[in-house]
């Protein structure tokens, strides 16, 4: 007999055994009447996970008999998983209750809630697209059937990961994703280079797995259960234990954040991402569109832990910010389109983590979905674009090309006061109004202000850039850009608000997340002022450098050269890791020699 468990909007946890259900609210345990068939949807979660698993098994067993036809089976079953995930999402959108399917005692819980249903649609949807693309793309490759088996196993592992309702199931799936990715990236078994970079990925993922294991250990020790709903409920009810002088949620939150950093290629744990382009394109698409986003998912899954933290989200924000800046800078310095896409993903992951850091958890989910869709498209289209470009670059030598690609802006004089006012005021007004539309009190949320600040800077940069484009009619161009900007901002605001209400319907939890991400008002204002000054100085410096191009002083030219060298060597991070690992291996070899391999 299956056991079910669900949490309602009042954060009560219900255990359902098929005969009777029990309610656990804080310390009180009461009995509820049987809830009947309303729990049937949880079984569909099992079906959703079982379909790609069955596909992998059948693909392996039937490969010798049916050869490349197994790809069709794989596509059909992955499509089935996608249909089931959509059905589950519709159920959740329709206000269906969250629930858990228990497959074993102690662990093996599969969760059906808004986050898992949404992420399952993303995972299975991207998986279907990658399956369809790979059917032809991989046709000439050896190990065709193996590729689809691995792809199906990866889909299953990701679906289990997003549906995991306990720490052990989550650890199993989290761990297996890294291992399966290693073999997918090393699809070409004759290429030591592909495996070398796959190895970097595996090792970084393992570095990220271990904090999650430690966090799981601490949570189990503290609460005596692996079940996530039970842990979250107990966390809210109890005074947190102290670990090494810090509250338990603070330590656990920090460890979970570390795990998320490794999975989402945050700075210093990012080197694997741009170097794994040697893998097949469908794997790159799956990785950049789905797997690398897991950090954002993990932080969202543990939102009830982060609510009880003090400083962790601030560090998360800082890490995201650093990664976003460095990822974007490194992207701009790349000549290889796929590597540039890799660093672009790093920058985007930085933004996603940064959003978590300011408490915009649901926005991070929206971001990871949007990023997954557009980055998947770019990867799957990259081969075609490169092929086309080899025949004919097809790039018209018009003004947009000289401006964007050759970086040769037009030097024209405009009424600067008017332009400055438009540049600074228009994005601010659009952003303010669009946010005011969905939530009047947004200005009191520090996270919203930080994100608005970024939006404002981006909008201002965008408008600033348009002045320097060659155009017959500046007003028309500006209007078009502003309309586009307004549509994007409005769309983003409305959709992210809808995500917030869907993923975090409980206003208390939403307020708790914002409070955990907030800092003292005085500090916040000071930081905003400081960042504004830095950005304005940056603009002035850029303007100054542009004006003096070719007439620059030696120190400026030297600084530019040194910066470029450091950036082109990717800030020497990979070099450092390579050096450290070589030293470690040499040390181990010496020890083995001394001890005669005993």
């Amino acid at each position: 007999m299956h056991r079910f468990l669900y949490i309602d909007n009042d954060r009560n946890i219900y255990f359902h055994t098929g005969l009777a259900a029990e309610t656990l609210a804080g310390d009180q345990l009461t009995t509820r009447a049987d809830q009947g068939d309303s729990y049937e949807m949880e079984r569909w979660v099992l079906l959703m996970v079982a379909l790609p698993l069955a596909s992998a098994l059948l693909g392996h067993l039937l490969a010798d008999t049916f050869g490349r036809q197994v790809a069709r089976l794989s596509i059909a079953l992955s499509l089935g998983a996608f249909v089931v995930s959509v059905a589950l999402l519709i159920e959740m959108l329709g206000g269906g209750p969250a629930g858990v399917l228990a497959l074993a005692n102690g662990w093996g819980l599969l969760l059906l809630d808004p986050l898992s249903s949404l992420m399952a649609v993303v995972v299975s949807g991207i998986s279907v697209i990658v399956h369809l693309f790979a059917r032809r793309y991989m046709a000439e490759e050896s190990g065709y059937a193996r590729f689809f088996v691995l792809l199906d196993l990866m889909t299953a592992a990701l679906l289990v990961m997003v549906s995991a309702g306990d720490l052990i199931t989550l650890l199993v799936a989290w761990h297996l994703v890294g291992v399966l990715l290693y073999f997918l990236l090393g699809q070409d078994v004759q290429s030591p280079t592909a495996y070398r970079y796959a190895f970097w990925t595996l090792l970084t993922y393992r570095v990220g797995d271990l904090p999650l294991v430690l966090a799981a250990g601490l949570l189990f020790r503290a609460y005596g259960t692996w079940s996530l709903p039970e842990i979250f409920a107990a966390m809210g009810a109890d005074t947190p234990a102290q670990i090494l002088g810090l509250p338990l949620p603070e330590v656990v939150g920090g460890l979970i954040a570390l795990s998320a950093f490794a999975r989402s290629a945050q700075f210093l744990l990012h080197t694997w991402l741009p170097y794994t382009m040697g893998g097949p394109t469908p794997v790159s698409a799956l990785m950049h569109a789905g797997i690398v986003n897991a950090g954002g998912f993990l932080i969202n899954r543990f939102a009830p832990v982060f609510v009880h933290t003090g400083e962790v989200l601030h560090w998360v924000f800082l890490m995201g910010l650093v990664t976003a800046v460095i990822g974007s800078v490194l992207m701009l310095s790349q000549h290889d389109v796929k590597k540039a896409l890799g660093y672009s993903t790093m920058g985007q992951m930085g933004f996603m983590i940064m959003e978590c850091g300011v408490g915009a958890f649901s926005l991070a989910i929206y971001h990871l979905i949007a990023h997954g869709v557009f980055k998947g498209t770019l990867f799957l289209g990259a081969g075609g674009v490169i092929g086309e470009a080899r025949r004919d670059d097809g790039v018209p030598k018009h003004d947009l090309y000289t401006f964007v690609v050759e970086r040769r802006p037009v030097r024209q004089r405009r009424p600067w006061l008017l332009m400055a006012a438009v540049t600074l005021a228009v994005p601010a007004v659009i952003l303010f109004l669009s946010h005011y539309l969905v939530e009047h009190g947004f200005i009191y949320r520090q996270g919203a202000v930080v994100l608005l600040f970024f939006g404002w800077i981006t909008g201002a940069q965008l408008i600033f850039a348009t002045y320097r484009m060659r155009t017959e009619n500046l007003a028309r161009l500006l209007t078009l850009i502003l309309v586009s900007f307004t549509v994007v901002v409005l769309g983003y605001t409305l959709i992210s608000h809808a995500f917030d209400l869907f993923l975090y319907p409980d206003p208390v939890l939403r307020a708790g997340i914002n409070a955990a991400a907030g800092i003292e008002v005085a500090w916040f204002d000071t930081l905003v002022a400081l960042v504004t000054v830095v950005i304005v100085l940056g603009w002035l410096f850029t303007y100054y450098a542009e004006q003096r191009r070719g007439r620059g002083r030696d120190w400026l030219a030297g600084l530019r050269r040194r910066s470029y060298r450091a950036i082109s060597r990717e800030l020497f991070v990979s070099d450092l890791y390579g050096w450290v690992s070589r030293r470690l291996l040499a040390g181990a070899e010496r020890l083995n020699l001394w001890l005669r391999w005993s």
Binding site: A104, L171, Q190, V207, W226, L244
Partner: protein, 247 residues
């Protein structure tokens, strides 16, 4: 008497430098089946002695076990020979049993769970050794290209040995980490696990990846491949079945 038994257990759940003895004795076992038997029985004797000591493991011995596990996990990263790797991983894994707070019966199961994938690896390695003389990453075997069945069995056995889910070792390690008081010991066990993965992945790459051609290898027969696959599946199912006691 207890201390003597504990120190004697240090030979069978090898603590450095007694671990040198274990690795030399293991290397001298000629036939793979003898090595496999050795891998099963040796830690069971250690657990038996530990039980007979009828005392809890002192902190200093647990710390010694942890240091030994780290030391051998680190040294395993530079190994190129499968036989040596199995010995080092066994040493590292069994040394962690000093940190387990399970009952004697469960400790026997934990030891068996850690040994089982290494036994399979020893058997498959023995068959390969009989074909090519030695199983070393220096030999450019490229097994995935020239003998895919060998490669598949070897890869899964190595993964199970480094405690990849759903091998019993995975649940043992998570359980051991969860049983530790917060602090350095749990972090050190996690580090041991990371080093296992590092060395395991290096071994896989050295034996499986590449164009091959270093030696002529006739692939594993279909029947043997199915037998190994069944054994590895059984290992995974055992991991799930035993998870409740191992965690």
């Amino acid at each position: 008497m207890s201390l003597v038994l504990l120190l004697l257990a240090g030979l069978f759940l090898p603590l450095f430098p007694a671990s040198l003895v274990f690795n030399r004795v293991l290397a001298r076992q000629g036939h793979p089946s003898r090595r496999a038997l050795f891998l099963v029985l040796w830690p069971q004797l250690g657990v038996l002695l530990l039980t007979q000591a009828r005392t809890s493991v002192p902190d200093w011995l647990a710390a010694w076990g942890l240091v030994t596990a780290l030391f051998y996990a680190y040294r395993a990263t530079a190994l190129r020979d499968l036989g040596h790797w199995i010995g080092f991983l066994a040493t590292s894994a069994w040394a962690l049993l000093w940190l387990s707070d399970s009952s004697p019966a469960i400790r026997h199961v934990e030891a068996l769970g850690l040994s089982a994938p290494l036994v399979l690896l020893t058997l498959i390695g023995g068959k390969l050794e009989a074909l090519v003389g030695a199983v070393s990453t220096r030999m450019n075997l490229g097994l995935a290209s020239v003998a895919p069945r060998y490669a598949a069995v070897l890869v899964v056995a190595v993964l199970a040995s480094v405690a990849t889910p759903l091998a019993p070792g995975f649940f043992s390690l998570v359980g051991t980490i969860a049983a530790q008081p917060p602090g350095a010991a749990a972090v050190a066990i996690a580090l041991v696990w990371l080093l296992w993965t590092w060395s395991g992945a290096r071994l896989i790459q050295g034996l499986v990846v590449g164009p091959g051609g270093g030696a002529r290898v006739a692939d594993l027969s279909l029947t043997a491949a199915w037998a190994y696959a069944a054994a590895l599946t059984l290992l995974g199912l055992a991991g799930i079945a035993l998870s409740e006691v191992l965690l």
